[in-house]
């Protein structure tokens, strides 16, 4: 069986970064990679969707316009419900974040494309942006009082020595868990699909096509599931951003 298989792509090969336009500046490799290409595609698609739909701004919306309006109202409602009324100025930020991640996840579902959200560098950069923005916002709004976030209420003074470091660590965990959640979900899902697709080939060759059909059916189910995960993970990222915003704005 192994003899006739020249090159079967491993399940992790889909995550390889390939430089498309090589560019080296000093010690840094700034090549325009497939990851960057997909990021540009996601950003451009979101921009096109929004500009094309808003351009005419009809009272009775066209299909494209109602997609854009539905999306925006969805995110607007999410910000209002989870971050509070004062946070509505951040709707555009949360919206761009949500659409960028959603488009990245969904574009990654196209065969032979690349999922940039499956790389922790990308998700960590996004999460760090959110984290720094929320922290700076909190400090701007509340000044030094913002650090009372780390002091739990109604705790004996002695325990504060232990609890304040734990609170600070718990706060510092946010960008890490936010980025790991998105990256691990995307990477695990895509790896699983590739593994089962590999099963379909190898079981079909070794045990006959009828047996190979079983993993193939599973791959079809997983594809649907992955599209769901793509949407849910973008949603979770946006929701958590809203909750962090609320923490910084309301400060309990």
């Amino acid at each position: 069986m192994a003899a006739e298989a020249q090159h079967v792509a491993g399940p992790l090969e889909q995550f390889a970064i390939q430089p498309l336009i090589p560019l080296h500046v000093g010690r840094y490799d700034l090549s325009f990679s497939n990851s960057a290409l997909l990021m540009v595609a996601a950003a451009v698609l979101v921009t096109l969707l929004m500009t094309a739909s808003v351009k005419r701004g009809a009272l009775v919306p066209s299909r494209l316009q109602s997609i854009a309006e539905l999306m925006y109202e969805f995110v607007d409602g999410m910000v209002r419900d989870n971050a509070g009324k004062e946070a509505r100025g951040f709707t555009p930020f949360v919206f761009s974040l949500f659409m960028f991640i959603l488009l990245g996840n969904l574009l990654g579902m196209i065969p032979y494309s690349f999922t940039f959200t499956s790389h922790i560098v990308v998700t960590f950069a996004l999460a760090l942006t959110v984290f720094l923005m929320v922290t700076i916002l909190g400090i701007i709004l509340h000044g030094f009082h913002f650090f009372s976030l780390f002091v739990p209420h109604g705790v004996p003074k002695v325990l504060l020595v232990l609890l304040v470091p734990i609170e600070i660590l718990s706060y510092l965990t946010r960008p890490v868990s936010l980025s790991i959640r998105l990256f691990a979900n995307m990477m695990a899902g895509h790896t699983m699909m590739a593994v089962f697709a590999g099963f379909a080939v190898s079981m079909g060759v070794a045990l006959g096509w009828a047996v190979g059909l079983l993993p193939l059916l599973l791959v079809i189910a997983l594809t649907g599931f992955e599209i769901l995960v793509a949407a849910i993970q973008a949603y979770v990222f946006a929701i958590l951003t809203c909750l962090y915003l609320r923490d910084a704005i309301e400060l309990h």
Binding site: I166, E167, T173, S177, R181, I232, V236, E250, H252
Partner: protein, 75 residues
């Protein structure tokens, strides 16, 4: 899968952050194993705290409508 995975990530991330900070502080201050040990336990504590908050604020943190500001701060 969603909730269990999310909470697992919270624990692992807190431990990783604790260990990372401990390791870096050790390298910086030259107190080789000690701060790593201390921050390991602090990270474990932060992980438990994360889980506690995630579970207590369940339903609201996953994004269901939240109707008042009477929750604890982290949800």
């Amino acid at each position: 899968m969603g909730i269990g995975f999310r909470i697992g990530v919270d624990v692992a991330a807190a431990l990783a952050v604790g260990l990372g900070i401990g390791y870096l502080l050790d390298a910086w201050l030259g107190t080789k194993p000690w701060l790593l040990v201390v921050f390991f336990f602090l990270g474990a504590g932060a992980g438990v705290l994360n889980v506690y908050r995630a579970v207590r604020g369940m339903g609201y943190q996953v994004g269901l409508r939240h109707d008042g500001a009477h929750d604890e701060k982290d949800g």
